[in-house]
Symmetry: C2
Subunit: 335 residues, 2 copies
Amino acid sequence: MTLRTEPHYVLGIDIGGTKLAVGIVSPEGRLVSEVRTPTLVREGPDRVIRQLLDLCDGALVQSGLLRSQVVAAGVGCGGPLDPITGVVMEPPNLPGWVDVPLVARLSDRLQIPVSLDNDANAAALGEHRFGAGRGIANMIYLTISTGVGGGVITDGRLYQGENGNAGEIGHMGVVLGGRTCGCGGQGCLEAYASGTSIAGRVREAIAGGRTSMMPELAGSLEQITAETVLAALRAGDALAREIWEETLDLLGMGVANVISIFNPRRVVLGGGITNFGDLLFPPLRERALRRVMAPLAAVVDIVPAELGSTVGILGAAAVALAAREASELVNVVYK
Amino acid sequence: MTLRTEPHYVLGIDIGGTKLAVGIVSPEGRLVSEVRTPTLVREGPDRVIRQLLDLCDGALVQSGLLRSQVVAAGVGCGGPLDPITGVVMEPPNLPGWVDVPLVARLSDRLQIPVSLDNDANAAALGEHRFGAGRGIANMIYLTISTGVGGGVITDGRLYQGENGNAGEIGHMGVVLGGRTCGCGGQGCLEAYASGTSIAGRVREAIAGGRTSMMPELAGSLEQITAETVLAALRAGDALAREIWEETLDLLGMGVANVISIFNPRRVVLGGGITNFGDLLFPPLRERALRRVMAPLAAVVDIVPAELGSTVGILGAAAVALAAREASELVNVVYK
């Protein structure tokens, strides 16, 4: 079984509600060029797609490569979306995008194969190919920022499930009848462990009468963020400690659950929460691993993501590379 | 790609702590012969392995087949065990079995390839091949009896994880700091939803002063089982209703969690709990599906297992058939 070996590059297209980023990436994960711009999100999908095509042109010019050397494009975008049909359904961070056939629109203009996946799956593929999951067959990726997203690599490939929506680890229930989540459910992991939820729980406790240095640290109750909680934790604030301990307990249970279910070799944690550093990883490992059975605990580690701010572009590029390899594998086996 | 088509049969070997069952099964799942005997569990692994070999001989004689027509054997056994090395590690239901090289012992004597998996994975393979999961690519199997076991079929194959221990859905945490589970963890699904746990919670409530018809129904407090709870539920007992509602809530959350993570086409529920019938399935579907996001809920159903008491032998046979096909696939691709 052989794959092509001539030099080829891919476009990585990262669509966010506040910024767009496009880069040209080598198969080894070298970022050859990179361009970014704020998303003109109020102007709707047609305008944003024009922005993306301009960024693709800009990235190509900046790279110094020939157009023929760029053989595919991958897109990471907020879900829900359908990776099979290439349609973006109605992401909360892109108001007005309803059933947008993004892959068709982009491939018509770019004249190369375009593949789409949600941003958490793209990031999982990126960390697996270029970052903390290199060489790992069974890996769980969890990103914790304003929300909690997940992606699952099984036997070296992204597991997509029946219609491309697998890996919704953030919406695993961890507290029966608990806090209401953005998804409408109650007691989801995201409703406790996301940066937004951590700050929200602190604000609720203070509004309920608890004392804390955090309003002063942040400037006001409303301005408290997860970063405020981190600063207060370091300064010994009791409420920050209490909320953070509860976060660790629930996140530990959530991580233990995915370990018990998937028996992975590695859990990779990304997103803003990793700024908590040693306040996060050692206690999380302890809480998660004491919950799982010995043969499962023996083979797994829990590590920080490695790609940092490049994960959006590199993840989108990994979507393109994975699609390209899958199609070549099909050609080899069935031709 | 072609697989062999000449007639061949497999042995299905089901090892339980109270009984042993062996059958000869056709590739289509027809049970050609079946023999059972109580497990001489106190006499240790050597004696039980002799019992198994005698049962294999008995099943062969009863089938009327030639020995050469039986080409492989599959074994389902309580875990933990290692399906790759074929070693049974230390199952709680088989005291004295410590690191028993069961596959080597059986294949030495039977002179055919032998494959091993834990009983929940074997049952998942059996339901997938012959029962409620036929033709389904992405399926979750959950068996709820004295314990809660699980098996995961992804893209048509059993997902085993890094060292064969994936699918421990019963040990998913659902209540932080909750009831202690047999695994040593706290708040596992098994500690609430297993038949043993349902009866245990009832006994604890009555011991704590709650009134109920259940001690009288069962004969005494100690004799209350899940079947007592079912009878009391039908008779309108308030405590039985309360404990059952809590069970449905937590089981609904657990099932929703595996749907959010795996995006399966079907969840198959087996084991003694399915005796609850319409008291189980409609309210469980309602609770589970209202928790998961629309694109996930749209493609999944939650159905009872179909194989009943034959699941042990047919599941073990499915382990043998899956291993046989995997080895033939490898031969086709790499020869």
